[in-house]
């Protein structure tokens, strides 16, 4: 029943991104399914743009995210590069796949996670990522607790992130300078390897506070050089914080009286100067607390309440905050509410 040895058909080793020669360009460029354009043909970049639906992402980026001009500019540049690469591909010009690993640095609450989520969606629409999901992890998800635990853990997370974006929050915790036996280093090495070899499968975004990320990159020069885009998220100005607050209030279905607006602005001004200010996150917390005070104020009134009373925040809802009492000189060590 035995047969002579046969040559193996199929089951060759290759990854989905790299096809063997003669099979045409890679699958993530739908345009390449068409015939290669002649050298004197013209393509409309506007049409390409519309086909990807990228403008919707930009519009929602502009509408939902206040400020962050340098970030938005960089995102537009990346989108433009990917679109031009697609057009080049249609002419049969070779386009090397750009390196899109990124690092987001900035103070707390400057929108790093939110932008990462939009980034995954945008890269998916531009055909750079196959799936466009975001896997958000921290040190706990990557680094193991005993010898030999880290590698499988990191690899599992990387497998889950394939086809999308791996977002590593507080990435500087991966490397602890004071402990050279820390397993974080092993995780960093696996990350580096995957960032280099599986560039077509996933995009890694590292996020963290500016100063600590700088020292993280200083101790991992390989990591820094493999990241093409170091994007710094600036702190919000008072006007931007004000806009964020109004955006949040509108989303929650609340409104401010004109005096309320002034008080809110003053609150932000005071809060900004105090320690542990977390930009947009502090604004959100301030609004949450104002809602609490508003609700207890509603409960204490004996009169019947209408729609206006239920949706309008008054100055006293903000004035009850400790931020105002501390600004008047009574310092305390507790977290300002």
């Amino acid at each position: 029943m035995s047969e002579a040895p046969t040559t193996r058909i199929g089951f060759g080793m290759s990854s989905p991104g790299q096809k063997s020669a003669g099979e045409g360009a890679s699958e993530e460029e739908p345009a390449s399914e068409e015939e290669t354009l002649s050298p004197d043909a013209r393509v409309s970049l506007v049409k390409e743009r519309e086909a990807t639906g990228i403008d919707e992402v930009f519009e929602s980026l502009d509408a939902d995210l206040v400020g962050l001009t340098p970030v938005k500019t960089r995102i537009r540049e990346i989108a433009a590069l990917l679109l031009v690469d697609r057009a080049r591909g249609r002419f049969g010009l070779s386009t090397s796949r750009p390196n899109l690993h990124m690092s987001f640095t900035g103070s707390p609450g400057t929108g790093k996670t939110t932008v990462a989520m939009r980034m995954a969606d945008m890269l998916h629409r531009l055909g750079y990522l196959r799936r466009g999901h975001l896997v958000s992890v921290t040190r706990d998800d990557l680094v193991g607790q005993y010898v030999g635990h880290t590698a499988p853990k990191t690899k599992e997370v990387l497998k889950r992130a394939m086809g999308g974006v791996l977002f590593i929050d507080e990435a500087y915790y991966l490397y602890r300078e004071d402990n050279e036996r820390d397993y974080g280093q092993e995780s960093v090495e696996i990350l580096l390897q995957v960032m280099e070899n599986h560039r077509e499968d996933l995009v890694v975004i590292l996020a963290g506070y500016k100063d600590r990320m700088d020292s993280f990159f200083a101790s991992n020069p390989g990591m820094s050089s493999r990241i093409a885009h170091h994007i710094d998220f600036p702190d919000y100005t008072l006007d931007e914080l004000d806009d964020i607050g109004k955006l949040l209030l509108r989303a929650e279905g609340y409104a401010l009286t004109p005096e309320g607006e002034q008080t809110f602005r003053k609150y932000l001004d005071n809060r900004k100067a105090q320690p542990r200010f977390a930009n947009a996150r502090s604004v959100r917390n301030a609004i949450e607390r104002a809602r609490l005070r508003h609700a207890s104020r509603m409960m204490t009134t004996d009169e019947s309440v209408g729609r206006d009373e239920l949706t309008t925040l008054m100055p006293e809802d903000f004035l009850g905050s400790r931020v105002f009492t501390e600004a008047n000189g009574e310092k305390s060590n507790s977290d300002p509410a």
Binding site: I9, P16, L158, K159, G164
Partner: protein, 142 residues
């Protein structure tokens, strides 16, 4: 003798692109995939060795294919299959299982006849490959 086990086994061997498409189909149906290998080709050998744990929460086929390639590298002369498990209540079974690698040379099976009492004959299949100890069955390789 080319053994035929699992889905697609009467088709020509799948290319990597076809394997990727099948993995993606399984993942789109929320079936976690796992990779298994063996060098015992007997059709009743249902317990293959696991290559790592089953992979949950994957979105893209590249992760599974990376494991398949790692397994191919470590076991170039063994059978490798992908199992996709349907965990839905009422199913809870393997939904799709197919070979993604076979040894370059498959020697096939011998038919053994055993005479038992009253001139009865019992038949059994014996894979020629199983004559060698495990791990050295196909071209003396893993």
């Amino acid at each position: 003798m080319r053994i035929t086990q699992g889905t697609f086994s009467f088709l020509p061997d799948l290319t990597d692109d076809e394997i990727t498409a099948q993995i993606q189909y399984a993942l789109d149906n929320n079936w976690p995939c796992s990779v298994e290998f063996t060098d015992d080709p007997h059709p009743r050998n249902v317990y293959w060795d696991m290559w790592g744990l089953p992979m949950f929460d994957l979105a893209d086929a590249a992760g599974v294919l990376a494991e398949v390639n790692a397994c191919r590298k470590a076991k170039p002369e063994q059978y490798i299959r992908i199992n996709a498990y349907n965990a839905n209540y009422g199913k809870q079974t393997v939904a799709l299982s197919y070979l993604v690698q076979r040894p370059s040379d498959e020697p096939g099976f011998r038919l053994d006849r055993q005479e038992v009492k009253d001139r009865q004959i019992r038949y059994s299949l014996h894979p020629y490959a199983a004559d060698a100890p495990p791990g050295r069955r196909y071209n003396g390789q893993q």
